[in-house]
């Protein structure tokens, strides 16, 4: 079956993520847009994944529990997990690698940790916009060893992308790649290239997505679908 997929969204925890980006509202917005599999991928932090899990259950969307890690190479990589607990544990590990720089809400927003109703439980004090002390290779190894998926984000972006920051794609075990305009990527790199919304505002949830042929709507189905690579896009 062909499913609608969006594996890149930021909540109000992410720097520059709007305060309206409550995990519950992201799930409802995605439901309205017909997304079947949805990931929450805050920068370097997993602390809003629990309300996201609860909201996706209500909306009957398959949740994928993720983060967007900023490596020492300043490359953004999506790490995605089936189980909330695995994603949270990986998130706590990443938090230990963050530099001791406090967030300045004037520039980067409040970094709110919320519950399913949108109540602010606390704010994350350290800046999440910086690189954390982990290399691209180590992110991939750590993530795959925990049965995660690892997807270099927006490879066609001029900043924080693997191609702009390194100039080439190292031969590593990516689960897939993500691009803003996959139709313009000249090389296939022998990987499935996805499109994700990279939403920081509510109206951006599901603004970019792709269709993927899967056997079933499950994490295992997604994993196999990425290997099979039958992906399609709406070209604007």
């Amino acid at each position: 079956m062909k499913i609608k997929l969006d594996l890149h969204n930021h909540s109000c925890l992410s720097p520059c993520g709007s305060d309206d980006m409550l995990p519950s509202l992201i799930a409802f917005e995605a439901m309205e847009k017909g997304i079947d599999i949805l990931a929450l991928t805050d920068h370097n932090c997993s602390r809003n994944l629990e309300p996201f899990a609860q909201a996706c259950e209500i909306c009957q969307i398959l949740p994928i529990f993720g983060m967007e890690i900023n490596t020492i190479e300043d490359i953004h990589v999506l790490t995605l997990f089936k189980h909330l607990k695995d994603a949270q544990e990986f998130g706590f590990y990443i938090e230990t690698l963050l530099p001791n720089i406090n967030n300045d809400p004037k520039f980067f927003g409040n970094q709110n940790i919320v519950d399913i109703e949108g109540n602010i439980l606390s704010t994350f004090k350290k800046s999440l916009i910086t690189t954390c002390g982990i290399s691209l290779d180590d992110v991939i190894n750590e993530c795959l060893s925990r049965d995660g998926l690892v997807i270099p984000a927006h490879i066609d972006k001029k900043a924080n992308s693997i191609l702009s920051n390194l100039g080439f794609l190292p031969d590593l075990e990516y689960s897939a790649l993500e691009a803003i305009r996959p139709q313009d990527i000249k090389e296939s790199f022998n990987k499935t290239i996805l499109q994700g919304s990279d939403a920081h505002y509510l109206e951006h949830v599901g603004r970019r997505y792709c269709f993927l042929e899967v056997d079933e709507i499950s994490y295992e189905g997604l994993k196999k679908g990425l290997i099979d690579g039958k992906v399609s896009y709406i070209i604007e």
């Binding site: 020492i72 190479e73 300043d74 290399s135 691209l136 290779d137 191609l163 702009s164 920051n165 390194l166 100039g167 080439f168 190292p170």
Partner: protein, 110 residues
């Protein structure tokens, strides 16, 4: 200058010296490695804070014989190993990229 002459510059320390037969005639300062690949000239030393294995791949692609890692950053073992395999030398300094660039420009009479 020879690659090994870099360690004569004040505050520069050798991490790994490989293939000292290569001559350095120029330098390129940058942390955006795609920009380095696109613009670096031949026989250049790379001045950067990018202390990881992929910097070695960039140097190898662009025929750069040496790297100066700035701001006192340390080099991981896999980077040092990759450098040895690719005949690329690594030096570190507590200088900023600007400070290191000025010193190398003087040493090269640029």
């Amino acid at each position: 200058m020879k690659v090994s002459d870099l360690v004569k510059i004040e505050g520069f320390k050798t991490v790994t010296l490989n293939d000292d037969t290569q001559i350095i005639k120029n330098a390129y300062t940058g942390d955006l490695l795609s920009d380095v690949i696109a613009n670096v000239g031949e026989d250049s030393v790379l001045i950067t804070v990018q202390a990881h294995k992929n910097t070695i791949a960039v140097c190898s692609l662009s025929s750069m014989p040496a790297i100066i890692i700035c701001n006192g950053r340390s080099c991981p073992d896999d980077m040092i190993k990759a450098a040895a395999e690719n005949d690329i030398s690594i030096f570190t300094t507590d200088d900023t990229q600007f400070g290191a660039s000025v010193k190398i420009a003087k040493a090269l009479n640029l």
